[in-house]
């Protein structure tokens, strides 16, 4: 047992301690909480690097399990694992987290709840690290829930804003819907395999014998048990990573402060879903001999494709800078799911790592833009920031190019290429490949649109308010909230301070460098994850199949950028009120896209109303039926009591009194017999004598 494995639990523990201390600390001591948070992240990062180094040395999996508690003869075991997947994620999360902590020190400088913010951030980091190192599905689930909680707290950080509170609630509830499936899957898995540990020296549920057992059994629906369990666990991933049915919370989560969005909706939390699928991949991919690809992976693939295309189309029509990035994250997650579905763990994870870096970069860039434009989020009211905020512009451009997959130079291109390549080789159907190409094209298009809107053209910040700029957002509670952009005195936009731009630059460098780690020529990342032998073969690049996909994807990317430049670059809009170019072309489609296919309204109309209706019926049921029943009982008892009282009063009391009256009357009568008159007695005796004599006479006659 190597030293690092023994102290692995310390990585999540450090941020947790930081969160605990800053929670206890009184509000004003900002410096104390910031230093603690950043210090703990640095500690975790160093430990993560040690762990990464140890996995580099001996790449087999290291596992340490311990017994949590024992009930009856069974015992519940938890544990943590160190393998290449964990190492990579640890390093990525700690590094990105650290950068975001530093960035948010600057961003939240004049916010009065500074310490509370950092407490939540540390809590979030601890939870995310917990998910990463967990060897038992239960420990993973616990941390998973903590992540959900942290996201709720962070999104709803500015709880005095009703929309923020509503968004936090929305996020929490939608992720919880997914977590429900996750929990059911976990329970089913426990019942089937008897343990929740992934790897337990051969007895874990991800090991061969458990898998084979589960594959053999089939449920009543005809699905294999393993497929069923994995689909249920996938629901959790859908919820957390914002796949199609449960993606509605992610755009609204932008209400939270930008570092939050960056940390949660770019790098870590959304990645948790993908990481979960990667962790559970052996279960997902287990399939009976006859079938080539397990149905679970097919489902993952199709949801990924749909999500990618769907989110990309919406992103085209958005006007809020952070909402565009949010939708791009949703579509990129779709890409990762497709990567996992068709390519396997390495492909998915590679896109995840690269996406984490440049999406964090883009969010922080957007954050500094907003900070610069004094909390202005509507891209139509910005513009011309290229000369005003040069550092932000350059790093933002690098991020945009990486995201849209500018050929050869940027990491986005390589990771997306891997996905497209494996999608192309997917023998089940070719539709995912073609749809992914469209998604890639749209990604490139809306990113260039955004860049041109924000950085090129004239600065529309001071040109007054535009009617169309109100953002009609319907919050969760169904009340329409008209959000008035803050428009204090339109002061000049200004470049963000160093503490914010430095992380941007670092991330920009990584956005570029990271690509070369997983190129086909030198697939270090894939071999690292798949434990294959690494060897350099330049020829791979020129191989026919890979070359073909690389050419197609670069053409797509450039086409997207060109179209973006054509529509928005040449004649950037002059006034915030201008109608969008596309809108002028296709107004109905554009409004459809802007309103996000009315998905929110659909949910609202379907579930919320149903829920409201169901609540009302329950209330009705409760008041009239159960309450009625109880009232009925009460009335019955009251009735009985009344009857009892009535009976008691009339029958018994009156009866008793009557009886007594009769008795006293009788007594009176009897007493008259003994009224003290001697002669009365004598008379009675006389009569008695006569009667007795007669009786005697007649008696003895017979």
């Amino acid at each position: 047992m190597t030293l690092i494995l023994q102290w692995l639990w310390l990585i999540p523990a450090l941020p947790l301690i930081a969160a605990f201390l800053s929670a206890l600390a009184p509000q004003p001591c900002r410096r104390f909480s910031a230093t603690i948070a950043i210090g703990s992240m640095i500690g975790s990062l160093s430990l993560a690097c040690c762990a990464f180094a140890s996995t580099l040395k001996h790449s087999e999996r290291l596992v340490r399990n311990f017994e949590w508690f024992r009930f009856g003869d069974q015992s519940l075991q938890l544990g943590w694992v160190l393998d290449p997947l964990t190492a990579v994620m640890l390093v990525m999360v700690c590094f990105v987290g650290l950068l975001i902590f530093i960035y948010s020190v600057g961003y939240m400088a004049h916010d009065e709840n500074f310490t509370r913010f950092f407490c939540f951030l540390s809590l979030f980091a601890a939870a995310m690290l917990g998910v990463v190192i967990a060897n038992s599905l239960l420990l993973l689930f616990i941390s998973w829930e903590l992540v959900g909680l942290a996201s709720y707290l962070l999104i709803g950080f500015w709880y005095h804003k009703p929309s923020a509170a509503a968004a936090a609630k929305k996020a929490f509830i939608t992720t919880r819907v997914g977590d429900l499936g996750f929990l059911l899957g976990m329970l089913w898995l426990y019942s089937q395999s008897g343990t929740l540990l992934f790897y337990n020296h051969g007895h874990g549920c991800m090991e061969a014998d458990a898998l084979s057992k589960m594959v053999a059994q089939t449920t009543s629906l005809g699905l294999a048990v393993s497929t069923g369990i994995s689909l249920l666990i996938f629901c959790g991933a859908v919820g957390k990573s914002g796949q199609v049915p449960l993606h509605v919370w992610l755009p609204d989560a932008m209400e939270g402060p930008t570092p939050v969005s960056a940390l949660i909706h770019a790098a870590t939390m959304v990645a948790a879903g993908v990481f979960l699928v990667a962790r559970v991949y052996p279960l997902m991919s287990a399939h009976a001999a006859g079938v080539t690809v397990s149905s679970a992976l097919q489902v993952v693939t199709w949801t990924g494709v749909i999500t990618a295309l769907f989110a990309a189309t919406i992103a085209v029509a958005q006007t809020d800078i952070k909402r565009i990035l949010a939708y791009s994250t949703v579509s990129q997650l779709g890409f990762m799911m497709v990567g996992l579905g068709v390519g396997g763990v390495a492909v998915g994870m590679f896109h995840l790592i690269t996406h984490a870096f440049f999406k964090a970069l883009l969010f922080m860039g957007a954050g500094s833009v907003i900070h610069g434009c004094h909390e202005e989020q509507d891209i139509r009211r910005m513009g011309g920031l290229r000369k005003i905020m040069p550092v932000t512009f350059t790093t933002y451009a690098v991020g945009m190019l990486a995201l849209s997959g500018f050929p050869l130079l940027f990491s986005g291109f390589w990771s997306k290429d891997e996905i497209l390549h494996s999608a192309h080789r997917w023998h089940i159907s070719h539709w995912p490949f073609y749809l992914m190409l469209c998604a890639a094209f749209l990604t490139a298009f809306y990113m260039t649109r955004q860049v041109f809107y924000v950085f090129f053209g004239n600065c529309r910040l001071k040109l007054g308010q535009t009617t169309s700029s109100e953002q009609r957002t319907v919050d969760h509670g169904g009340t329409v909230v008209v959000e008035h952009p803050h428009h204090e005195l339109p002061s000049e936009p200004h470049e963000s301070p160093a503490v914010m731009t430095l992380p941007l630059v670092v991330l920009a460098v990584f956005a570029i460098v990271l690509g070369f780690v997983g190129t086909p020529a030198w697939p270090w990342f894939q071999s690292f994850l798949e434990h294959e032998h690494l060897r350099f073969n330049g020829a791979a690049l020129t191989e026919a199949a890979t070359l073909k996909t690389m050419l197609i994807s670069s053409v797509i990317a450039l086409g997207g950028i060109a179209l973006g430049w054509l529509l928005y670059g040449k004649r950037p809009c002059q006034r915030p009120g201008d109608i969008d170019v596309l809108e002028r072309g296709q107004p109905e489609i554009f409004t459809l896209l802007r309103n996000k296919y009315y998905v929110d309204e659909a949910y609202e109309w379907a579930f919320v109303r149903f829920n409201a209706w169901w609540a009302r019926t329950c209330d009705l049921l409760d008041t009239w039926v159960w309450n009625g029943l109880v009232q009925l009982c009460a009335y019955v008892f009251v009735g009985i009591a009344w009857v009892n009282k009535f009976l008691d009063e009339n029958a018994i009391n009156r009866g008793f009194d009557e009886g007594c009256a009769r008795l006293t009357q009788g007594g009176g009568l009897m007493s008259r017999l003994q009224n003290g008159s001697l002669q009365g007695y004598l008379r009675v005796i006389g009569i008695a004598l006569a009667v007795l004599a007669l009786a005697l006479m007649w008696g003895c006659k017979q």
Partner: protein, 104 residues
């Protein structure tokens, strides 16, 4: 009618008169006198049966019974009259109707 029935009729008539007196008269002493009469009627009955009743030889139970009855009657009369005196001393009247306090 035979002498015995005559005597019996006489004694029952005496008894009836005694009873009537006891029942009707207002004065306690007369009630007592009525009782005495009734007792004497009974004695007469005894003697009549002793004389005319069917018995063997000189049985004397009738006479003995009368003697005892007379003795008892005398004792009773004595106590009765003593009572009347005591009542009189307390109630200042020997009227039966006044002595009604011992009632149920």
């Amino acid at each position: 009618m035979s002498p015995l029935s005559a005597y019996l009729l006489l004694s029952s008539f005496l008894f009836a008169i005694g009873l009537a007196g006891a029942l009707t008269r207002r004065n306690a002493i007369l009630v007592l006198i009525g009782i005495e009469l009734m007792l004497n009627a009974a004695n007469l009955n005894f003697i009549a049966f002793w004389r005319f009743g069917s018995h063997t030889g000189n049985q004397v139970t009738g006479i003995i019974f009368v003697i005892f009855s007379i003795a008892v009657a005398a004792a009773e009369a004595a106590v009765g009259l003593a009572l009347i005196i005591a009542i009189y001393r307390h109630y200042k009247s020997t009227d039966v109707e006044d002595i009604k306090t011992l009632k149920g």
